[in-house]
Every structure is written in structure tokens, then in C-alpha cells.
């Protein structure tokens, strides 16, 4: 019977002494899905992954792969393979032997294992590399060997533990796309852990944001970005402006936040307590040289450019704005009248109430 999900975690808890590294985590990963677990270092994501691989054992809860409980199943008997952070290629073996290793462990004959390994190397674009030493490969090639070594076993699930961490920026950008393509070609379920939100956003079908051993939110990259469920998700995923204030009057669907300076801003959210946090994405901040262009917005302020952070398409402005303790960050358009704006120039900023998410602090 085909199971509707490849991986299910049910109330998984892992304690080290009194510290709960993983605290009551539940999730399912569908077949063929690229699922990421995103969180800051020390949030418990590595422990979670090691439990799925079989190197750690949950204090309580169940881990099921295609409906089969993995409790008590050793790592070498699970239909799960892992791409390690350090890649952990076997330096004492050639590239071909690395890929064939798992097959020979399963009792596949040497000749057939070599044949399948060389076919797999061809599929990941390393045709003819079988005889090379792994130490003679570039970073990107090593990466592909590590993945080929897993995929040749046709596992139910491939776990990837921040495998791009050690690569330089250019290669990392390239490998993001390559990984996504590999996953699509092989149609294998990937569970990917990372602290890099851009990796998770670019590659994943769904992302779980993890913090202090718990899942804060699980959703598609767009959902997380546009509708964060918690202030942690709002600030961890993507760039954002963040202000502290007190919830003032709440009207139909909207809420007003009074900043310490007395300035009132309008946003969306449900807050039961007084202390609240307001988040606005830099790209949601509208910029104009005269105030009339922003007249329809509920939040509009006057400011002065304090810094231009030029980074090509990701360029942004920091704008000192009356009533705000920290400068407002806004995306700098690369075309139009504002493209050449200089530090010190006066500017008007504004945003809709929808664009501002308000949470209890």
C-alpha cells in the first residue's frame, strides 16, 4: 500500500538532561516534496535530523517512514540517507567506490555496483570521474558525489544537513538551483536543514521555521514570507522593519500601534496584550518625493535618507523618520526618479495597513 506521506514525526521530544533540544515536534513530508527546516543555530534542527537518520533516539514520540515506525531501527537499516554538512566523503576510496559503497553494503555484486555507480555519476554530470580521488575534486563536484552516493540507493528520503555551508557565495547560488533540479529529476523526497533563509526560500516546497526546539510555523515560502504566524518568523524569514509599541484602538480587522514617541501606525493583526511588535517588509515601503503621491496610505511620514546600501537589485535605503527610533528600511528602486538618490535627501515614506503585521511582544 502506498502511503500518503514519506515521513511523519509525531510528538517527537528529545531531552539532553533537563534541556529539551526538540520539544513536541509534529510534521509530515509528502512524497517528492522538498521540505526545509529553517532555524538559527542551536534551535534543535540538527538533533531533529540526526533522529530521523537514526544517530540519536527521541526521548518520546514516534518517527515514521512510509508509515513504518523507525523507533529501534538502527541507522544502517533505515531507508534514509544523509548528505552531511562536511559531506563526509570517504577519502580512502575513489569517487566511484564512494558511490558504490552503499550498494556493496546491500550485497549488490561488485560489477553491478560499479556499473550503477558510473551511471549515477553520469546523471549528476560527473561522467568519467569514477577513478579520481575525492580529494582531487572541486567543492561543487564533491557536493554532487555526496548526493549521488545517497541517490544511487534510491532512498525514500534524503536528508541534507546544511551541505552548502562550506561553499563560497557564487558556487552556493549555483548549487541551490542544481540541488532543486536534481531533486525534481529524481523525484526523491528531500528534507533539508539550514540556517540560511534564502536557501530555504529558493529551494523548498514547504518550510518549517524552528526556534528553541519547537516549530513556529510550517508553510510554503510565500506563506511564511507574507503571512508570518509569529513575530519570530516575521523577523527571521526575510528582511523586515521591526518596531516596538503599544496596541492602541483596534478597529474592524485593523489595529493601531502607538510607538514610544507617540506616533501611531496602522496595521493588521490580533493582539490581546498591550505590548506589541509591528513588522513591515522593506519592499512594502512606498517612497515618493512629494507627499501627494502617498495620500491614499494610512501610514505616511516624512524623512531624510541616512544611508544608501547599494547591493544591485537588493539595494535599500535607511531613512531617518520622525517618530521612529530606528531608521526605516526601504527597497531602493533601480529605475525612476529615486534611483540616484543621495544621503541627506528629503523623502516621503508610507505603507498600507495590510503590509504591517502586528504581534503581541
Amino acid at each position: 500500500m502506498a502511503h500518503s506521506s514519506d515521513l511523519d514525526l509525531v510528538n517527537v521530544v528529545k531531552r539532553f538532561g533537563t534541556h529539551a533540544a526538540v520539544n513536541d515536534v509534529n510534521f509530515s513530508v509528502a512524497p517528492g516534496e522538498f521540505f526545509s527546516i529553517l532555524g538559527p543555530s542551536g534551535c534543535g534542527k540538527t538533533t531533529l535530523m540526526r533522529m530521523i537518520a537514526g544517530f540519536e533516539h527521541p526521548t518520546s514520540g514516534d518517527i515514521r517512514i512510509r508509515g513504518q515506525s523507525m523507533i529501534g531501527v538502527p541507522a544502517n537499516k533505515r531507508p534514509v540517507n544523509m548528505v552531511f554538512q562536511s559531506l563526509a566523503l570517504f577519502p580512502m576510496m575513489s569517487v566511484g567506490e564512494n558511490v558504490a559503497y552503499g550498494l556493496t553494503c546491500r550485497g549488490v555484486s561488485r560489477a553491478e555496483a560499479e556499473e550503477r555507480a558510473s551511471r549515477m555519476l553520469e546523471r549528476v554530470g560527473l561522467k568519467g570521474f569514477g577513478e579520481r580521488r575525492v580529494t582531487a575534486l572541486s567543492g561543487g563536484q564533491r557536493q554532487r558525489v555526496a548526493i549521488a552516493r545517497c541517490l544511487v540507493l534510491e532512498p525514500t528520503l534524503v536528508l541534507l544537513d546544511e551541505p552548502l555551508g562550506a561553499l563560497d557565495l557564487k558556487l552556493r547560488e549555483h548549487m541551490k538551483i542544481e540541488l532543486k533540479q536534481l531533486q525534481a529529476t529524481f523525484n526523491t523526497t528531500f528534507a533539508y536543514i539550514t540556517h540560511d533563509q534564502s536557501e530555504a526560500l529558493v529551494m523548498s516546497d514547504r518550510i518549517a521555521v524552528m526556534n528553541q526546539g519547537r516549530f513556529e510555523q510550517v508553510g510554503s515560502p510565500r506563506e511564511l514570507y507574507h503571512n508570518p504566524a509569529t513575530p519570530f518568523v516575521a523577523s527571521f524569514v526575510g528582511e523586515t522593519n521591526k518596531w516596538q509599541g503599544e496596541a492602541a484602538s483596534a478597529s474592524a480587522g485593523g489595529i493601531a500601534v502607538r510607538l514610544p514617541s507617540g506616533t501611531v501606525i496602522q496595521g493588521q493583526g490580533k493582539v490581546a496584550e498591550k505590548a506589541s511588535l509591528a513588522f513591515v517588509r522593506p519592499e512594502a515601503v512606498a517612497l515618493a518625493q512629494d507627499s501627494s503621491a502617498l495620500s491614499s496610505l494610512p501610514n505616511k511620514f516624512e524623512g531624510r535618507v541616512s544611508a544608501v546600501l547599494f547591493d544591485g537589485a537588493n539595494s535599500s535605503l535607511l531613512i531617518d523618520t520622525a517618530g521612529f527610533e530606528t531608521p526605516v528600511r526601504a527597497v531602493l528602486p533601480q529605475a525612476g526618479p529615486l534611483a540616484g538618490i543621495q544621503v541627506g535627501a528629503p523623502i516621503h515614506v508610507g505603507w498600507t495597513a495590510d503590509a504591517m503585521k502586528v504581534f503581541a511582544a
Binding site: 534514509v80 540517507n81 570517504f90 580512502m92 553494503c105
Partner: protein, 289 residues
């Protein structure tokens, strides 16, 4: 390329102790022994060049049999030491942490604060007919009379393994420590059993350490004198005893020198064969030791 005189002088001064050490203490005596080994006594106090001392070795069965016995037993001792030291080194390198690791290494080192002679005498106290083990076996009723555990091959091997253990553990632990834990985990993750991971990942990684430890233990064992004499007694029959006998008992220095050269050739040949067999180079091996 020309060097400044001051630089060459510094280089010369820095190298001088090593060159002196090698020249005076190692090369010179060996040249002396080599020359000596080719001199035959033709009349009292009259010596001539000849291969007689070497011929004597091959014609007298006691000599070459002792020689072969020493070689085989030394290989056996090295193998046993390796098998015993491997799990200990694995534990020290992979399992023990921090102070525990230092403690364990210190425990291995501790017996070496006592001289080899005293350590061997300690074994004699345990193994002799009126010794501790014999007494205990009699006391708990396993044997009804005293048993002699000394003066056999087992006792010699026991003593030699004991003496070699530390020199095997240290290079092995060094080699095993440099193995990335995630490489071992990857070995399991891809479906390897404990045995597969040991055979295909851990042992190949530790190979330079294994070879380094084996060379050291083999050399120490082949050249050992006190342990085979004390624990083996008349049955010890170690080749070093033959050399000792020629030099000291019989005053036949040329014969002793020939035996010494043969022993040097033997250890060199076996070390060379070991390196060839395991595909290791002397350079990488020395780095481990």
C-alpha cells in the same frame, strides 16, 4: 643561488649536533661492525678478510633456527599487540573525552616509569612456580599442585606484547583521532554494518598508524634481550642472546658482528616487506609515529 656566509654558518651549527649524533653514534659503529664481521681469525691475533662468519651462521642449525624463530615470534608478537591495542586505541581516540582521555593515556604510560628489567621481574613474580598465579590456582582448587608458567614461549610472548603495547597504542590513537566522526556516521548511514565500517573506513584510515606502530613494536621485539632471557630462560632462544654470547661469553667479536649485521638485515627486510604489502610509504608512516 648563493647564500650569505652567516646563513651557511647558522645552518652548519644547527645541523652539527644531528650530524655528530648520526655519524659518531650510529654510522661509525655500524661501519666498524660491518668491517669486523668480514674478518676471520686465521691464527691467534691474526685476522684476514673472509665470509667465514656468515658461512658459520648458515652451516650451524642452532644459529639460523634461532634467527628464524626470532623473526616468526616477533611477527606474532606484533600481530597480537596490534589486535590488543586496536580496541584500546579506538576507545581512547573515539569514545573517551577530555580528562578521561588524558587519564587513559597516562595509565598506558605508567608502567614505563619503571625500568624494563623491573617490569619483567614483576611478571616473573606472577608466573613462577611459587608465584601469585600458581598459588591462586591452587588455593581455589583448580590445580592440586604448583604450576610453572615461566620458561615457555607463551611467557616470552606475554612479556613482549606487554612491553610493546604502548608503542602500538599511541600511533594508532593518533591515526584514529584524525578520522572525522561524520565519515564513520556516513558509513553507517549508507547501510554499512559495524564490520563493514571497520574494514572499509576505519582500518584504511588508520593504516599509517597501524604500520607505524607495527614497525616500532617489531623493531623493539626483535632487538629485545632482557624479556626473552628472563621469561624464556633456556627456552628463550632469542637471536640477541646469540649476539650477546658471541661478544661477551666467547669473545668472538667478528662472529657477533656478523650476527648483528644479519639482524639488521632481517629487520630492514621485514619492515620493507610490511610497507610494500600495505602500500604505505615510509614518509607517511613516520609522520604518524
Amino acid at each position: 643561488m648563493s647564500r650569505k656566509p652567516a646563513q651557511s654558518l647558522t645552518l652548519f651549527l644547527l645541523l652539527a649536533p644531528a650530524v655528530l649524533w648520526l655519524g659518531v653514534l650510529i654510522v661509525l659503529p655500524h661501519v666498524e661492525i660491518l668491517v669486523l664481521s668480514f674478518s676471520e681469525r686465521v691464527a691467534p691475533r691474526v685476522y684476514a678478510f673472509g665470509f667465514g662468519n656468515y658461512l658459520e651462521f648458515f652451516t650451524e642449525p642452532l644459529y639460523w633456527r634461532t634467527f628464524a624463530r626470532t623473526a616468526i615470534m616477533s611477527i606474532l608478537v606484533t600481530a597480537i599487540t596490534l589486535v590488543l591495542a586496536f580496541p584500546i586505541a579506538l576507545y581512547i581516540a573515539r569514545v573517551a573525552q577530555g580528562r578521561m582521555k588524558a587519564m587513559l593515556l597516562l595509565l598506558c604510560l605508567l608502567p614505563f616509569w619503571v625500568s624494563e628489567l623491573v617490569r619483567t621481574l614483576g611478571w616473573m613474580m606472577l608466573l613462577r612456580e611459587t608465584g601469585v598465579i600458581s598459588y591462586m590456582l591452587q588455593a581455589i582448587g583448580v590445580t592440586d599442585q604448583r604450576t610453572e608458567f615461566l620458561y615457555n614461549d607463551g611467557a616470552v610472548i606475554l612479556g613482549l606484547v606487554y612491553g610493546g603495547l604502548l608503542f602500538m597504542i599511541v600511533p594508532l590513537a593518533n591515526a584514529l583521532e584524525s578520522l572525522d566522526p561524520s565519515v564513520v556516521e556516513a558509513g553507517f548511514d549508507l547501510g554499512g554494518s559495524r564490520w563493514t565500517v571497520l574494514r572499509r573506513i576505519v582500518i584504511p584510515h588508520a593504516m599509517p598508524g597501524i604500520v607505524a606502530g607495527s614497525i616500532i613494536v617489531f623493531m623493539l621485539t626483535v632487538g629485545n634481550f632482557a624479556t626473552p632471557v628472563l621469561l624464556g630462560g633456556k627456552n628463550g632462544l632469542w637471536f640477541t642472546e646469540q649476539i650477546y654470547a658471541q661478544f661477551i661469553t666467547r669473545f668472538n667479536w667478528p662472529q657477533g658482528a656478523a650476527f648483528g649485521m644479519l639482524l639488521l638485515l632481517l629487520s630492514s627486510a621485514i619492515v620493507w616487506a610490511g610497507l610494500r604489502l600495505t602500500g604505505q610509504s615510509l614518509g607517511t608512516t613516520l609522520k604518524q609515529a
